[in-house]
Symmetry: D2
């Protein structure tokens, strides 16, 4: 599966916030099998030669995906992306613009504007967004490398609240769909994959688990299996057992006579 | 994990109805890793030395769990269990009593009565039941080997409609809890396991998949991973992102100066 | 609408527990328009000529429905019903048997047994029960005057968790269906009525409101309107707007030329 | 309750599409008590002196809210609003811009752009939008007279799929919040009002009812009662009955001795 010009074997992306230590985070990333990991640039010290977060990830061959978390508008986000490029050399960027400090919901207008500017500058832009099917289309047309609709508010662990709208986005997208934010359990990630979503990004659900490294391994497997289930073709729901009812016991009694 | 006196490595039970052929069913059972498989005795021909369903399952070392599907009361169910014992030699029985042919919902009164009688006769009784926490307690006290609350109506593929009640059963049970009926997707099975359920039984979701054998393998993995997630300790839900909000971008800008 | 031999104009039943004072409770009952009100007999002092709870309700022409709350089995419940009859003269009884003090979930076995005995003794039995369609049938056949399936655990305010099963009960019942327990908001009561439920019983949602008397009036109206909506015939859900899409703007532009 | 400079007694807005006849629609509007009614301008013939839709609504003293349904971008929407002004004299406009003919989801970018232009032109702009809290803020800042987040896709009757996000919008808005699209039952409208939403717009749920006029009256009452319930202060949900459990029967037995 490709995003931009890069092929990934894993459909799981990880965030690096809220872990109890850098070491636990790095262990969790390794256990997750993720090849694309997002981190807030403000947590990286560009003046140091080695960084306790960045260095081990790079050594493990992982593609860094700097994010613009904290940016309140397009200008700040573009600035942050440029700084990230300077500091790490990567042109990948997860675009996060959330003017509201309470719920961290993304700004559709500034996100589209920043996407246009960053695409122009040669970035692989992966915008975090509400599960808004028309905005997904607009971002795709602006050249985003993927779209990243939220499942639920960031950090809420509430799961696929936006299911009906993500289904529309999946149906209509020509770029990879990455479900981001709100995934609380491996079964949530699996459910997204069963719907045909291309990738899932998880952070809080792993960082806030009692055993983050073990939970990361669970998410790895949930995403793999969810994709396989999508490909195996789920059966339909029905509201009435009658259609599938077994034949009555008289068959059995008859058969045994 | 044990049920009655037998240890199982797999927490997935399979039903054998509604498959397109016996061969597909047997392949799906093998792909699922299930070691305990239920089948309606009326579909078995006890006068034949080899049976296209039973023989390959026994050869694969699988524990048969005859069910009393079609029984409308305790008397018919006990009779069916005895016939199953005669035909197969097993004392395991999945007790299903559903007087209503439309929704196949189980009868709590007759189910308890039959459980008492079959326990007396030395059977390992696994009763199919509504997700009724008090009934689960009563069946356990009557000596059932497990309790099998339904997730949703049989064959509906609707998933964990009874989640709150299954959570109560899990909290209170001293015998294994097997979620049975209504599981429609691997993520449903995983969600049940994440809640601490001991086993999951799946049938329609596999039999009605486009590729039943591949889907059986997905359920195998979903159940394993769901249990691991339960053991890794899920993080809590929250309704407000603020508690987990990243620090503002000014940190980043400051850090880079 | 009748229950047993009595006609009611209101489809709302009230419980009397958890109010801040008897006076608030009586005011709430009056505001609700309810004509059938349940109360735990243990809260009534049969040695007093006037009772702060019972007397004003009787003076308001309200039918008392003593309940057996606190009973752990059929024997205790039958005993409580007889005491209630002695104390109040009524043969109406709401049968509540919940051996589990944590969730107060009803016992299906003891509830059926007590129903049989109380019907034999001439009581109008209204059994509180899990939303179990087969048990509803059994209780109806035993002569219960109504069935009272729960929406959610008592006192939880969680709303219609058991919707799919209550729908089955409504389809199959020949006695009034009273949804009891778990109703948390007027919209929950209305949703039950929209499904064709005959009556709704509310207690905690009113008693725990900031303004219980005003909330009682809201439930009164929600139940009336929900029934009217049922009779007006709800439209179907659809998953695709296309079928109902308006014609394109070109019509408008054309029309205006 | 005011929108722009006009005070409304009714918190219910109606749409006029999909009715079986103009006469049924007008009767439904009257039964609903709505004082603000939206209609697609393309269905109005501006060359006729009397119009079977517009004339009776105006005679009933109802404020018309022309909508731009069918517009695919800001330019078309602004053009449509101007035509509506010419034809009807009103400066009220419901802004609908949906480039996708399949789901009719609104376009956030073009909607903001058109809002800015129409506000500049002196219109009272009520934009239809996804339940996007940041977009709601942006539209408010652009001078919209209200914001109209969707509950579910137009015409789906699916109810409050976007509940968590509408709650955020209600918390943060300084203009009236009108829940629009997807409301399928009076209980859905009531649930929105219980959350503190200011107005609800309904169309398909009334037009597709078996008896649209009776259903309109149900929605009228549901909206009134939902607002009253909001003001009466709903009690909290709890997951455990224990806190509210009645005292055990021994109290009763003791009291009666």
């Amino acid at each position: 599966m490709k995003i931009a010009d890069k092929t990934f074997n894993s459909r799981l992306l990880l965030g690096t916030g809220k872990f109890s230590s850098s070491q636990v985070m790095v262990e969790a990333v390794k256990a997750s099998g993720s090849e694309l990991v997002t981190l807030a640039m403000r947590r990286v010290n560009p003046n140091e030669k080695t960084d306790p977060i960045v260095t081990p990830l790079i050594e493990a061959g992982i593609q860094l995906l700097p994010n613009t978390s904290g940016a309140r508008n397009a200008e700040e986000a573009v600035f942050a992306a440029k700084l990230a490029h300077s500091a790490t050399g990567t042109r990948w960027v997860k675009l996060e613009i959330h003017p509201d400090p309470r719920y961290l919901m993304p700004d559709p207008i500034e996100t589209l504007k920043a996407t246009e500017q960053l695409v122009e500058l040669g970035f692989h832009v992966m915008p975090y967004m509400h599960a808004d099917p028309v905005l997904a289309k607009r971002l795709e047309e602006a050249g985003s490398a993927a779209v990243m609709p939220l499942a639920a508010p960031i950090g809420s662990n509430k799961g696929l609240l936006t299911r009906d709208f993500i289904q529309m986005i999946v149906e209509q997208a020509n770029v990879p769909v990455v479900v981001d934010a709100g995934i609380g359990k491996p079964s949530d990630a699996m459910q997204a994959m069963e719907m045909g979503v291309d990738f899932v990004l998880v952070n809080t659900a792993i960082a806030s688990a009692q055993n983050p490294v073990a939970m990361a391994a669970c998410f790895k497997q949930a995403v793999i299996t969810g994709r396989q289930a999508y490909e195996a073709g789920l059966g339909a729901q029905s509201s009435n057992a009658t259609a599938v009812a077994s034949s009555p016991l008289t068959d059995f009694l008859g058969a045994s006579s």
